[in-house]
């Protein structure tokens, strides 16, 4: 019957102008030009901010032998920022696409609570000595494996079951997160003030905690996961139309969802284990990317999210460290702006 589907001669007037009519990602040339202009601007600013982070305000002159070690130390922080930007922006955009909701972030699945619980219970049960020595590659692997395992159990159980649905999974994720948070805050109450102080420093997100020895492990993981997400862009475009239409268009929805959520949890776990919890950063990046990219197409959304994410984190660190000399508050600032943006989006849309 397929031949019946082809146009019958004379049965239908097809006015076709290939130069005008195409279902490309951008409806008009201006939109496309605007996209590329913004993307190039953000990348350039991001590169500028990272150059500033490396070179600006270096306490020693360029010809001094200690110039390079300073740059190398800053380089570590910069690589951590790059990894965090890739992880957070890609996973948030993907997560919002597969959940069909632009207000929720993967942090809802309880990653950050689990991170806080792991660290708090180390301090609580084993004391400050173990806590400080517990920071090698093994601890990184342990944290990542724990976080991915938790989310896979959650997805596997909730998505494959008879009553499996996304809302239920999110709800359970939030409940588990709240539970873990209460447990860890209870343990924190019983700590000595000095122990609490050391712990608190670890629980605030900071790229300067990140240990360069994690990089050989984190970078390949992030690269592979990011590549797989980019490769699935077209699949994600269809998923964004909803389960029913995606299924009707021949996408195995359940399978895609599980695979994509695994990648999201891997990226979130690496980012959280490396720089600590960043709740609103991903949300802020994703929201701005949608504003800057007026298309459904993830092949364009992903690069924009990466560029904005990198610029935001390097820009914030550069301004805070080298212009205002306010060290240690960067994550607070990003979270503050993220929170304000979140409230603005909720108020403007008038609905969750």
């Amino acid at each position: 019957m397929r031949e019946l589907a082809s146009p019958h001669p004379g049965s239908l007037e097809v006015t076709f102008h290939p130069q005008h009519r195409s279902a490309t990602a951008f409806p008009s040339k201006e939109e496309e030009r605007r996209y590329w202009l913004l993307l190039v601007t953000f990348i350039a600013l991001g590169v500028l901010a990272s150059y500033g982070l490396l070179m600006y305000n270096n306490p020693v002159p360029v010809d001094s032998p200690s110039f390079l070690p300073v740059v190398r130390r800053r380089m570590t922080a910069l690589v951590a920022m790059l990894i965090a930007a890739v992880c957070q922006s890609l996973s948030t955009v993907t997560f919002q696409t597969i959940t069909h909701n632009r207000l929720i972030t993967p942090s809802l699945l309880g990653f950050e609570a689990l991170y806080a619980t792991i660290h708090t219970s180390t301090m609580f049960f084993f004391g400050v000595g173990t806590f400080i020595s517990y920071s090698g590659v093994e601890s990184f692997i342990f944290q990542v494996v724990m976080m991915v395992l938790l989310s896979l159990i959650l997805y596997g159980w909730l998505l494959s079951g008879k009553y499996g649905n996304l809302q239920l999974m999110l709800l359970v994720g939030i409940i588990i997160g709240t539970g873990l948070r209460s447990v860890s805050s209870f343990m924190r109450r019983l700590l000595a003030p000095s122990e609490f102080d050391i712990l608190q420093a670890r629980l605030f997100a900071s790229v300067n905690h990140s240990d360069a020895s994690f990089f050989p492990l984190a970078i390949p993981i992030v690269c592979v996961a990011a590549f797989l997400l980019f490769a699935r862009s077209k699949n994600l475009n269809v998923i964004s139309l909803g389960k029913d239409i995606a299924t009707s268009l021949g996408v195995n929805h359940q399978h895609s969802l599980l695979f994509t959520l695994t990648l999201v949890s891997l990226l979130m776990a690496v980012s959280t284990a490396l720089v600590g919890p960043l709740t609103f950063y991903g949300f802020l990046v994703a929201t701005l990317s949608y504003q800057a990219t007026r298309t459904y197409d993830h092949r364009y959304l992903f690069p924009m999210a990466l560029a904005i994410g990198f610029l935001m984190i390097t820009g914030a660190y550069f301004l805070m460290y080298h212009v205002f000399s306010a060290q240690g508050v960067v994550s607070v600032i990003i979270e503050l702006f993220g929170g304000i943006a979140f409230i603005m989006v909720v108020l403007r849309k008038g609905t969750l």
Binding site: T15, G242, G250, N252
Partner: protein
Amino acid sequence: MIKIENAGKSYADDVQIGPLKIDIPKAGITSLIGPNGAGKSTALLMIGRLLNMDHGHISVADMDVSSAHSKDLAKIVTILRQENHFVTRLTVRQLVGFGRFPYSQGRLTREDEVIISKYIDFFGLSCLENRYLDELSGGQRQRAYVAMVLCQETEYVLLDEPLNNLDIARSVDMMKHLRDASNRFGRTILTVMHDINFAAKYSDRICAMKDGKIAAFGTVEEIMNTETLTDIFETSIEIIDGPSGPVAIY
């Protein structure tokens, strides 16, 4: 042919749909009618593999819907539900373009663009094709969704209440387009309908359901009689012969 063999779904002990046994022949428009809760949508969703059946088998063009590859089925059968809501901003043309996904996997070729244009023109959406969906009226949006589904160029097209929320003029327009699509492109269209008169005027066959079972299946003339319809809807329905076919008065 859509072959349904004892397919069923149980929502609760006393709410059972099926077992349904029916063969819906190829070509033409078949309307599914019946009171609320009769299982029309459930049956349609099971055929369109959006709902897993608890027992039985359904095959569309000799492909078992529960075991065949989703990718292969997407070239045979397509389904459109009532409620469609997107978080992303899509233009009409981009939406219709998604109908080519089973063939192009998102990389639209020149031929795909010709086919997309064909269905946009067919539904009279040419001047709206670069508009965003949220800038359209309900009727225009519904036409865009149906255009996407037809653009998939499947032999079988399943529609769940395509006239929902449309006024009379838009409903007539939609049904004329579906009739046209069936005649010109040889599509087999299975649609859930609430308005008996629309079903009678525009379809070739009517399948009436009641209490999760098939109550009657036949040509429009066979189903459109006072006893059958009164029995199915449990309300008095009178059929009179109008100038262009039977008309139900209720």
